[in-house]
């Protein structure tokens, strides 16, 4: 039977997830293998080197770099506070008249002193960094000094694009249908700390209201490019996101513009209304693609955890697909045929196509590159 591999985002009611939670630098791991952890638990921590503050001491003291050694009162490696005298001259005629004393501008440590430039480098105190579990689960592996691997069973949805970092909250369905353009009046104090679900679209005013009511995250089908710009204060040039500090996280499941949320995604979210949800907006579209994730942990037995073969979604007759480019963007169809030969489409591009049928029976053919698999027949 004709079949082909195709790109597709995962939307599933049950999957075994395995997540590495790693520190940016070596540090200490706070949990051990077999521990059950909650999303909010800190699993590893470290101290990042403090900020380096360059400070031209020779200039401040009014001497040449070469002379600095005579007046310096500290040495590399020495701990300092804002009260520490870094250097001091002897004043006029060595009598202490108009004596110049230079104190450290920061608390921390002396990193280096240069006789060439007269510059000292001061390092501020180390900054603690913590890595949280992000999802409820079991620690199945400890990578010494670096982090852990956490596994669980979850309902799981990959978004197409998002902004904002990891957060955790209770899922709250606000939209009643996947076609809904979310009404601002639905946002109120009951949404505080929740992960809210919109339908096809969420406008800037609605996002802003959600922010004011302390919403943790919004899941929507589509969003307008200009609203994202308003929200961030700049236009997204290249798709590397997730680091934005905008007060909440947004995950789009379909794309830019007003696009109905896929029925399957909407139904899945509806089924888990009220459940604890881990979510992030991190997106990177390049080698090593990262997509936003929505994770709703399920109850499971540890014995259920087993490694699974990762497989690419397969296109074959009967596969449900979603069109991801004009024409028919966002519509769902069922594959009816996969012709082998290259076919010329309207733009005259020669491509591999597929034949499909919409729910109302209309038949179409379109480039295989312009669809994603929602559910295989298998």
């Amino acid at each position: 039977m004709a079949q082909a591999y195709s790109a597709g985002l995962t939307v599933t009611e049950s999957i075994f997830l395995k997540k590495e939670r790693l520190l940016p630098l070596k540090g200490s791991v706070l949990v051990k293998k077999g521990d059950k952890v909650k999303a909010e638990d800190v699993v590893a921590e470290t101290l990042l080197p403090g900020k380096v503050v360059p400070f031209n001491l020779a200039n401040k003291l009014g001497v040449t770099p070469a002379q600095l050694a005579t007046f310096i009162k500290v040495e590399p490696g020495q701990q300092i506070t804002k009260k520490t005298v870094l250097a001091e001259n002897k004043g006029l005629f060595g009598l202490g008249i108009l004596k110049n004393t230079v104190h450290s501008p920061v608390d921390g440590e002396v990193e280096s002193i240069s006789a060439v430039t007269g510059q000292v480098l001061l390092r501020e105190p180390r900054i603690p960094v913590q890595v949280k579990a992000f999802l409820d689960g079991v620690v199945t592996e400890v990578i010494p000094e670096e982090g852990v691997v956490i596994e669980n069973k979850s309902a799981y949805i990959q978004g197409i694009f998002g902004v904002g970092d990891e957060t955790v909250g209770e899922l709250k369905m606000l939209a009643t249908s996947p076609h809904e353009d979310l009404d601002i009046n639905k946002i109120d104090e009951s949404c505080r700390d929740k992960v809210i679900v919109a339908g096809a679209f969420v406008r800037f005013e609605v996002i802003d209201a959600a922010r004011k009511h302390g919403v943790k995250a919004i899941i929507t089908g589509g969003i307008d490019d200009q609203d994202i710009k308003k929200l961030l204060g700049y236009d997204i040039g290249v798709a590397i996101t997730g680091h934005e500090k905008i007060g909440l996280t947004i995950v789009c499941t379909e794309g830019f513009g007003k696009i109905d949320m896929a029925q399957k995604t909407f139904d899945l979210l509806k089924r888990f209304d009220g459940k604890k949800t881990s979510i992030h907006g991190r997106t990177q579209i390049r080698a090593g693609v990262i997509r936003p994730e929505i994770v709703i942990p399920l109850d499971f037995e540890e014995t259920e955890l087993q490694s699974q073969e990762e497989s690419l979604p397969v296109l074959e007759p009967g596969t449900l697909i979603r069109v991801i480019r004009q024409p028919h963007f966002g519509q769902i169809a069922k594959v009816t045929g996969l012709p082998e030969q290259l076919t010329k489409v309207q733009s005259e591009t020669l491509v591999r196509i597929l034949e499909a049928e919409f729910e109302d029976g209309t038949k179409i053919s379109l480039p295989r590159a312009n669809v994603e698999v929602i559910a295989s027949t298998t």
């Binding site: 790109a7 080197p49 900020k51 380096v52 503050v53 360059p54 770099p65 990193e111 280096s112 240069s114 060439v116 430039t117 510059q119 480098l121 390092r123 197409i160 694009f161 307008d224 490019d225 200009q226 236009d235 997204i236 040039g237 290249v238 798709a239 794309g255 830019f256 513009g257 997106t283 579209i285 390049r286 080698a287 090593g288 990762e310 991801i324 480019r325 004009q326 024409p327 963007f329 010329k344 489409v345 309207q346 733009s347 005259e348 591009t349 020669l350 491509v351 379109l366 480039p367 590159a369 312009n370």
Partner: protein, 620 residues
Amino acid sequence: MQYDEKRLTRIVATDCGSTTTKAILIEWVDGEYRQTIRGEAPTTVEAPLNDVTKGVINATQELEELARLKYNNPNIKFMENGEFVIPRQGDVGVDAYVSTSSAGGGLQMMVTGVVASMTGESAERAALGAGAIVMDLIASNDKRMNHEKIERIRQLRPDMILMAGGEDGGTVKHVVEMAELVSGADPRPRLGAGYKLPVIYAGNKEAQENIKETLKDKVELIMTDNIRPKLETENLGPARDKIHDLFMEHVMQQAPGYDKLMKWTMGPDHKNVPIMPTPAAVGNIMQTIAKDESIEVMGVDIGGATTDVFSVFTEEFVFNRTVSANLGMSYSISNVLASAGLENIMRWVPFDINESELRNMIKNKMIRPTTIPSLLEELVLEQAIAKEALRLALEQHKQFASSLKGMQRQRDISEAFSQSTSGATIVDMMTLDLLVGSGGVLSHAPRRNQTAMMLIDAFLPEGITRLAVDSIFMMPHLGVLSEISTKAATEVFRKDCMVYLGSCVAPVGRGKIGKKALHAKIELPDGKVFEEEIPYGEVRLIPLGVGEVAKATLKTSGGLILDEEKNKELHIDLHGGVVGIVLDTRGRRPFGIPTEKQQRIEYLKKWMREFDAYPETILV
């Protein structure tokens, strides 16, 4: 080391890109080198395979299968037990295997200098020429505070740093200060946690001891000759060579599977042929061709994320390369819109479209980069965006490819009133002989006429220029191949790499729409003659096949000129191609495109019709 055709009869060359490993087979057939077969496979440098050689094996297997089919010989094979058999023994093995690589994001560097536009720019030139992506240029005078510079160095995580600054014997203070900042940042390499970051120092020789003192405990420090020993001299060679050495020794060693791949690349006598960064190899072949044919060449490779422009200009064959890191057709497509502005994109679109619809379409392309424009309107829009991406990339290239800045120049009386200054661009579209395009949007355009139109509209070639595409981007392979056989590389370049589109004739100067601009008489090889008085603001396309030459008599009116000697009349041979000869009287400096919308759309449709670029349905 060069080998002749007796020792090199069959060669496999691969380019391990970030996503695809492309393999080509080059063979000595009937007294000449030809590229006979190509194959490709996904690059396997990332999880789950984590071994670049797997992708090379897969791509080579495809070559083997296709070779067996082509020669109807089931015994042909190039590898045994997962390794190349070198040298060739009859049907089995190849005489050489060479490779380039940009997998894992290529070579990423940070450069430092004292004055950004002088030593900083020289360092940038050396790094780019060696095939690197320059993540940032940090200079003493770049207006950032020192603590900001330290933060930036710390965040970047480059593969290596190149430090320049000061002329030999000059002041040491600034360059040592920069070293102190680097030391304070304590930078970490991108790959491999267990080794020190390589830092090349190519600044004031007098400062070497101080630099050593400052940096020796923190980084792997390598000293080389000053990149700018005097203000008026640039000496990029030694720094470039060091970058290549370090790329092999440090960066490649850290990438999964490269230790194996580095041992595979060799000539017939088992002498190693170093793996080259992909862009460095492209530079190699372009310089070889420019010297060989005594021409000026410019190449552009427009990808999903970046656009590279390469050029060889002047009698000294000065090579320049720029990477426009955020101009591309998928991953960076939104940035093209942000940089060019909607208005500039719309000036190439012969129909109306709702602005917010267009913006959302572009963003959707960014997040779903593998989709294909299936509607004609979307194809036209993507090609309009491509024109702007190419135009901006060329602008950046022109700025960068310049004579040295900061020099005192003695001028003679004839120059006293001219505008030429130190730091002026050496890119001259009038003297350019060959313009080569590559990358998906140019190579896979449904009609080659669209490719020609995109190149002309974006680059605005002046005078007489030949146009070509490198349809499968073979230049990297040929660049590294030229290390062992210039003959093989240049022969294949001419015969198989280039798809000639034709020639563009574009008189330079200002004119008035409808007024006389160019009288062209073109005698075609089949005896037919094209003769027309073409008014200003028009385009004509005269079919002339690949390998065909037409005799042309060109005569301009109204102050328009045809070459750098300001000739208004030329009798020359024009070369054909899959598109033909394009006569473009839309003017240069300035290029005339109507500003009023209705009029602009009318003209665009007329030009596109002349170019035979799109089906009539969209032009009515």
